[in-house]
Symmetry: C2
Subunit: 144 residues, 2 copies
DNA sequence: GTGCGTGCAAAGGGTTTGCAATCAG
DNA sequence: CTGATTGCAAACCCTTTGCACGCAC
């Protein structure tokens, strides 16, 4: 079969891993997923988390948000969309998250459905990553 | 002294490493810098490249563009500015590079000097990273 | 001479993989 | 039974670090 996942058997661990990635907007890394599951699934191995997340990525069930502080971060929300990344704490926030300032969200809205094709390039504005400092880190730096 | 680099001695290797990072718009990784120098400086060690690049980053002489395909990439152009990253070949292109399509540059221009401070967040549009496919990778995929 | 700078090799941290045991169909 | 799935530990890759030597001042 050419369809991805055609010759695949069911696995409770696989289901659980996907469920955890999808259960949060925190854009977790593999270790976070593992930590969240290991109390419920005692025999779980970190390698299994990696293997399954890679499967999900290949078939498009999860997306990578990139490497932050040395760790690859994933997203269970797979339609392309912009992200904000805090350069201090590494937090990853969706473009439409309520905690982001309204002016920022407006800029994001303009980009979120645009895919540009010009001069031979394909530029997907929906995969834009903005950088800065989240409110908590700004507060922490001001207080300190 | 509190000034960075106050108690530092001169080093030809250090000078050479900084010169290489500044000599290119390719946003190189440490290995690339090392490869480019090892023929001219036979005794050079990759560790020295890493150590000095980290020094430069601390004092703001070079900037990190992030991790692409597992390798950290650096930029000798340190004023904050947007980048385009090709998701296929990992190429990193400055927002104002001539090979990028004009429409893209226009979007970039709107963002490049804006630093937003609202709702406690600090969002630096000048550090935006756009994603897509460069012209060569688009061509390669079409031909294949 | 003092102590920063460097090469080398080992150690680190995140991720992948080989292998034998296990589980789903 | 057959082959996919997994745990474990080793392997990998990029990056950092400990140590002794060498170079700048």
């Amino acid at each position: 079969m050419s369809r991805p996942g055609a010759d695949r058997k069911h696995s409770k661990k696989r289901d659980a891993i996907l469920a955890v990635v999808r259960s949060t907007v925190s854009h977790p890394g593999a270790q976070w997923v593992y930590d969240r599951l290991k109390s419920d699934i005692p025999g779980l191995s970190l390698a299994t988390v990696y293997r399954n997340i890679n499967l999900f990525r290949q078939e498009g069930a999860v997306a990578s948000v990139g490497v932050i502080d040395g760790e690859e971060r994933f997203d269970g929300r797979v339609e392309p969309h912009p992200h904000f990344v805090c350069g201090c704490c590494g937090r990853v926030i969706d473009y439409d998250a309520p905690e982001l300032p309204p002016q920022f969200s407006k800029v994001m809205e303009k980009l979120k459905d645009v895919t540009d094709t010009q001069g031979g390039f394909i530029i997907d504005y929906r995969k834009t990553v903005f950088n800065g400092l989240c409110a908590e880190c700004v507060k922490a730096k001001t207080t300190a």
